[in-house]
Subunit: 371 residues, 2 copies
């Protein structure tokens, strides 16, 4: 991909939208792009210790070469860092280094970094500008679009956070192909979701593109990243605060989150969502909502991702069902499901994109997938 694609996220009811710029090699232009979109006196480049060495230091050094004051703040890699403790430590480190309200945060990393550094930016002196530089495929495709930031707490994931749209998102597909193969599958699970809910053509194209992305081809990666961002940006632009249409992005996630929680977060998010989509498609077929054959089509794509179609070993279907009841999207403790009408088309009308379903049917579907 030689050309640069810019996708605009429009702000639903808010003052400010933001561009997402995608181009191979674009990371080298960051030192000029960041100050142009987020003017600040000081820049806090936040990355985990691993990504800091690969890309974070490069961004901070580049900003300094442009005459900007920039400081690199790091934290230990891993989901455990997405915590209130780490949020506090980063905030205090910035204050200690003299950062004031005329500062900006540059988040360089995967989903954990975007969420954590984004929450620091959202709450630092009541909010300072944020630039996101996602480095993992899942962060590029999913978590850097939409303005959601936050941390995990003992009661569950993402239960504390804010909506804090970035000023700019910069995506360099070259960076994603440096990731391990298994990491790429995690991001592609969200790409499959985007096709499944809104774009039958994209869903069909993914059958060809998934093997190329898994093999680290930059052009296919760029193609998938751009199309997925377009779909998500379109939804988010229409519904920034998750009251209506944005619910469709939760396809596969009611069971996905329950699987993730039931596994004690030992199974990665993308793997859980991949299986969750197949199971929720089966659920829809059984309820007469989803066109027969949809679940099999999704299962074929999940196999291309080299991910499992069975519940994690040792997981009890009843236990997974219990975890659906504490889902954040539920009303009054009753879980809701986004169902497909057909591959590439979500079922629902008006503002009701998620519905309650009989628990017995959910249990049947889970039992069939038990290891």
């Amino acid at each position: 991909m030689l050309l640069e694609e810019t996708i605009h996220v429009h702000a639903g009811g808010r003052a400010r939208g933001y561009p997402i710029r995608v181009r191979s090699g674009i990371r080298r232009a960051l030192p000029q792009m960041i100050p142009a979109h987020a003017r600040a006196h000081r820049y806090a480049v936040i990355a985990d210790e691993a990504v800091a060495e690969l890309y974070g230091r490069e961004v901070a050094d580049g900003l300094r070469r442009e005459g900007k004051e920039a400081h690199l703040f790091t934290f230990p890699p891993g989901e455990a860092s997405k915590s209130r403790g780490q949020w506090q430590a980063l905030t205090d480190a910035m204050l200690e280094a003299g950062f004031g309200r005329d500062s900006a945060v540059v988040a360089v990393g995967g989903g954990v970094t975007g969420d954590l550094a984004g929450f620091v930016a959202a709450t630092f002196m009541r909010g300072i500008p944020l630039v996101m530089v996602p480095t993992s495929l899942v962060a590029m495709i999913d978590s850097s679009v939409g303005g959601k930031v936050g941390v995990d707490v003992p009661h569950g994931k993402n239960l504390v956070g804010a909506f804090h749209p970035p000023r700019l998102v910069v995506v360099d597909p070259e960076v994603a192909v440096t990731l391990p193969r298994a990491e790429r599958a995690q991001g592609l699970a969200e790409a499959v979701k985007h096709g499944a809910i809104l774009d039958p053509v994209y869903l069909a194209d993914l059958e060809d593109d998934i093997p190329c992305v898994m093999n680290g081809e930059v052009r296919a990666t760029a193609r998938v990243v751009v199309r997925s961002i377009e779909i998500k940006a379109d939804i988010v632009s229409k519904d920034e605060r998750e009251s209506g249409l944005r619910q469709v992005l939760n396809f596969g996630h009611t069971l996905g989150h329950a699987l993730e929680a039931a596994s004690g977060y030992t199974v990665p998010h993308g793997s859980c969502v991949a299986l969750g989509m197949v199971l929720e498609a089966r659920l829809g077929e059984r309820l007469g909502v989803t066109e027969p054959g949809t679940a099999d089509l999704l299962a074929r794509l999940v196999r291309l991702l080299e991910l499992s179609l069975s519940l994690p070993p040792g997981l009890d279907p009843e236990e997974v069902l219990a975890f659906t009841r504490s889902d954040k999207k539920g009303r009054a403790g009753r879980p809701r499901y986004v169902l497909l009408a057909a591959p590439g088309r979500v079922a629902g009308k008006g503002e009701e994109w998620a519905r309650e379903v009989p628990e017995e049917t959910v249990l049947e579907v889970l039992r069939e997938a038990a290891f």
Copy 2:
């Protein structure tokens, strides 16, 4: 005051404004008003342990009598509770009690409670509706208008927080007169500020009204509360995110915050702002910006509040000056001051309401007020 006054805060660039309703005895209508403005499945009434007994329990019980699910959450009284630790404890208590995203927070109390409970609401599952029921005069007049919420951190006050406008603010002036006399002076200091920056008539009226409010007269209290809220709501409506006009509310606060910090937060905020206004008026007079006699007029009002016109004993002017340099409103570590042109009129034009001033002049003014 028999009539009810409703002041509307309009949202600058945001989707949602909110009403502030003021009436003696209005607290008894809260169980009907809260669900009408903030629909939710569960209500978290948050109050400190002292206010919980006086008013918080009454609100929670009233909501339950209306058939709503309501739960009272308390914390120890005092500024020390405005902390990340207490924010975390309240959030976790709500999660433990089964609160989900279909919940709302009702903050019943003074400034600490509004800021702390407001920050819980701002960050709980990325933000849930907030209703504010200020019970202290300073909270009624000042901190419940404007949508600022947050907590203190070791590096300073209000350094972590968010903008999270409430759905509704309910002010019952009867409640304010139950406060100790010294507490009322704290609120009136902000009222003097409102007159000083924008309303010469109000400033003149305060010479008569201050003694009545200090003596606990409900009608005078209601009059002052309504006029101050009108002024602040007008400013906030025009500039919700503090980029322009809202800066004028910082009159008296650059030196006020420095005095507060230099005293190790042993001198209350209102007392520091009262002295800060007199000193910043002297500063303005000395720089030829402020009409001569302005500082003396403000000093007369501060005397009516029974507050000190000297630096707290033992405080070194140089030390106070040093604290101005870490002011949050500074750019690049250089403090900025809002100066008056005359009583009831702020100096400045366009978007530049705050300016840098020579440090020597600040030091002269501080030295003259040294104990």
